[in-house]
Symmetry: C2
Subunit: 557 residues, 2 copies
């Protein structure tokens, strides 16, 4: 049997658009000879719908769209459709919704499998919305016996995850099971919406591969692609044979229709999986593109400081929405080096984007004067530094309000971790593009941007990082060099290591480690008012990381 | 037997402070003749610890503090202690932590009851952290047979909640059960951390009362009090007799030690429960006070526009932290009415707080000039309106940075709902004090503030609401009058009613309703970057309300 994995990029809540796209892909799959087209988890409402699932009207739309799709399978040339959606729960007490895979053919929903394992960690809140399945069963379809699972259902393998969240393993039970007539599963189909983080493609592949091999059953994962707010879905849907080897792989970071023949166990269409810095680049560009488009905007605005962060964001933005849709603004103060404006203009010139220069000195002086009643006699300090950043933020937002361009925030993960950024200043914007990228990694992105020709000026890459908010300021005045800082932060923020563990494993001075960790804890309030951060690591700032503010936290225990 | 309910106000993560306070209250309870002192849910780490629970070191602190408390019960004069904490889970697979009540006496932890029902809706994420109990059991203590439950365990009564989240009811099973020797429970003890919303005290009381009456078992609820970020805990711990009547009630909105005698079924210490506008006032004042104190600050800063919102926040702040710790700043523009500054100064004078006036005109002009390259030829509009609000935000933050005062945000729930507020402008601040108070309710708070003498100037209360960002602007230029707007918003935001339902139930023009609902949906991005909002209704903006941004949402379906 020929099966097509339809790797779609839905917009949350766009029932009309998503349904039309599902039917269009199904039709294409049918034309290519597929008997079954498999769509991602929650393909009808888009993933994640969040609290929209608490609205009865939203669930009614999910049901109506599923009915439309099921009816369409009666049309000549249409394949069967296996598709994810939310539906109202069939039973109570319990949560009002269920997360299901519906197998539709001959004009009807013929089989429904409810999701059993509902993730509720990091960015996932599924137990907030869904009632878990009480059982799972195999289903027969045109000679094949299918084991249908939904995303997390396949993420509890005891060999793969020594520390498991769930006692039961639905995959094991399904793949060890048989139909009443004794037939065993011939294929596992997993429909998923699995957010990207660096290296996750390999995790998915080896995990599903190991399951397939152990049970001797080929398996396919049909994945969502595209950006939805912070979450980036890389796609790369795939099929593994009974030896666990990939025999078909879809594109990364774009929609795709992947056909495979269940009778063949040798490689068919195998698109190379994008990884490393290229994957991060494509993920971020896709994140910008989809956020801008799905929010109904077309143009973006970036404050260009002449530094590497804003340069990388500008280059990503050009990749995402095209140079005609990117506008840069340079806003030098008296503390800006003369090179800064030149670097910003050179970047804009290399990228072919519009760039305006607006000096902030006069505004700063006027504001300083307004503050005289309370500031008189106080020395220039942090307040005056932040003031410059906030004047810039206000200028950016004013241009945004005037022309309807979306402001992209340019802070990196290292800065956001230690609070080396100004709330309502350089933190303004609709999307924190590189807020999950460590500064040391920002350099890798810059080199990637320059892979074919110099886009980011050499001087921007080589000069020492500086906020340029007071004379001759350098980041290293307040922080360890990024090669030292980033590994400390990574251990603390991403892996919950203690100061002691970090001192031991990294051989850094204890006082220095503790100073860094204190900065992380004291700046939590800034992160809670930050723009959504595009997630590219397993632990990013935002909804996947929830800390109290009015608390004694880790370094203060 | 005499039991004491120790209604504490813990700081999350302050193990040293919380443990000392628990021992101090236990000692006082012992001196008053109590044989058992009952503390709230998670009294040792404080509630809610959020992702701190994912840190092994945090759980180790929970264990060590519990050990310290248990050991202290060996000291002469110390009563037994029933106390909530988190501990590492005893079993896997599953979540790494459990939420427990530990009964300690004779120097040891003698009995542990794990929480069975873990809320995961609105602001609650407990399934993210905790493994639920697999069973519950009665425990014998000095002749009493205790049914110990933790908060949500008692919130699944089928008579009380027709639409239940959980299939099992641990209270029913415990109260219907008996010890192996056949003895029945003589008392239910519920330790809780139950966030305040308007009217919730009555819900708790009648729910626990109904349970006590049905089973003929007296019941006590020992509740946390105090503010932790957005969440406000009102306290009002209570005891009901077997007829379900309140026989002992602790104070609202402050710490208390409530003693009661299990042999008496008539009213003992019954503190009147604070409700209505007085409860909202006390809740908000407590929220400011605890946030400021627990974050390590002492002074607050408020932008005073002469309008009612900032006036109410200033009056609340004076109640919370004292007039010597409140500073106001008036920042008139050329569009401010002459009355505005007078009203702000009169308010400051009535409250006895420092107030500075800083005009923003010069800064505005300087900024307007900086924007000339792109603004030339465009008419004065939204960009220029927001610019004024952002200049004010920057001035406030500059003073905050200079002197270390915490900025209080003054926007109300009506404004936040429709986005009638400027991100990075009037939305700046550490805490959105009245962000969960509808504008019509803000007036009630103003009248409450003036209950003894005129604190908020009459003119502030009577003049038509205006943002004063362009000549002769009134809120009603863009919005329906608040008496019409608030009920629409309440239906939509708090109760998920559809446009149709609102039109039908409120008799408002459909176009007007849809326009309002569209404003709510389009301004979601502002709310996601807002300061934490003090929660006083069942559905407030913040972590209890999670919506996507890049989505077609309800009014666009």
């Amino acid at each position: 049997m020929k099966i097509a994995l339809a790797q779609l990029n839905p917009t949350v809540g766009d029932f009309k658009g998503n349904t039309a796209r599902i039917l269009e892909y199904a039709k294409r799959a049918g034309e290519a000879g597929a008997e079954l087209a498999v769509f991602p988890e929650l393909a009808i409402p888009g993933y994640p719908p969040q609290d929209l699932l608490e609205d009865d009207n939203f669930l009614a739309h999910c049901q109506r769209s599923l009915d439309t799709i099921a009816q369409a399978t009666a049309q000549p040339g249409m394949p069967a459709i296996l598709c994810g959606t939310a539906l109202e729960s069939a039973t109570r007490p319990g949560k009002r919704a269920r997360n299901i895979a519906a197998l539709c053919y001959d004009g009807k929903v013929q089989f429904i499998q409810q999701k059993m394992l509902l993730p509720f960690y990091d960015v996932f809140d599924e137990q907030r919305y869904f009632q878990p399945a009480e059982s799972q069963s195999l289903v027969e379809f045109r000679g094949e016996v299918l084991a249908i699972t939904i995303c997390e259902d396949a993420w509890n393998d005891k060999d793969f995850w020594p520390e498991r969240f769930y006692a039961n393993d639905p995959v094991e039970r399904l793949l060890d099971g048989s139909l009443p007539d004794g037939r065993k599963p011939t294929h596992m189909l997993n429909i998923s919406a699995s957010p990207y983080w660096e290296g996750k493609q390999q995790v998915r592949r080896s995990m599903i591969g190991a399951i397939a091999k152990r049970h001797g059953v080929p398996a396919a994962m049909s994945a969502q692609v595209g950006g939805n707010d912070s979450l980036l879905f890389d796609g790369a849907s795939f099929v593994v044979n009974r030896e666990g080897e990939a025999v078909a792989v879809a594109k990364s970071f774009e929609e795709d229709l992947l056909l495979f023949d269940t009778t063949l166990s040798h490689p068919q269409t195998v698109t190379p999986v994008v990884d490393g810095v290229e994957a991060a680049w494509q993920a971020l560009a896709m994140g910008i593109r989809d956020y801008v488009r799905k929010c109904g905007f077309s143009k973006v605005l970036i404050g260009l400081s002449g530094g590497i962060d804003s340069a990388v964001v500008a280059a990503l933005a050009v990749d995402a929405v095209g140079k005609q849709n990117v506008m840069g603004i340079g806003m030098p103060s008296e503390y800006s080096s003369s090179g800064s404006v030149d670097d910003a203009l050179a970047l804009a010139n290399n990228l072919g984007i519009q760039c305006e220069i607006m000096a902030i000195r006069e505004t700063f002086n006027a504001m300083d004067k307004a503050l005289e009643p309370v500031f008189t006699g106080t020395p220039f300090g942090l307040a005056e530094e932040n003031m410059q950043a906030r004047i810039r933020g206000t200028l950016l937002m004013s241009v945004s309000n005037k022309f309807g361009h979306l402001v992209l925030t340019t802070g990196n993960k290292s800065e956001m971790s230690v609070g080396y950024c100004t709330l309502y200043g350089d933190m303004v914007g609709a999307l924190a593009v590189i807020g999950d990228v460590w500064k040391t990694k920002v350099y890798q992105l810059a080199h990637y941007a320059n892979r074919e020709r110099e886009v980011i000026p050499q001087n921007t890459i080589t000069k020492p990082p500086s906020a340029e908010l007071r004379p001759d300021q350098k980041d290293t005045d307040s922080l360890p060099p990024y090669e030292v800082l980033d590994p400390i932060l990574q251990a603390y923020v991403e892996r919950y290591e203690s100061a002691e563990e970090i001192v031991t494993s990294q051989g850094v001075d204890r006082e220095r480690v503790e100073q860094v960790l204190r900065l992380v804890e004291r700046s939590e309030y800034k992160r809670q008012q930050a723009a959504p951060v595009l997630k590219v690591t397993a632990k990013s700032f935002g909804t996947g990381r929830r800390f109290p503010l009015a608390a004694r936290i880790r370094q203060q225990l």
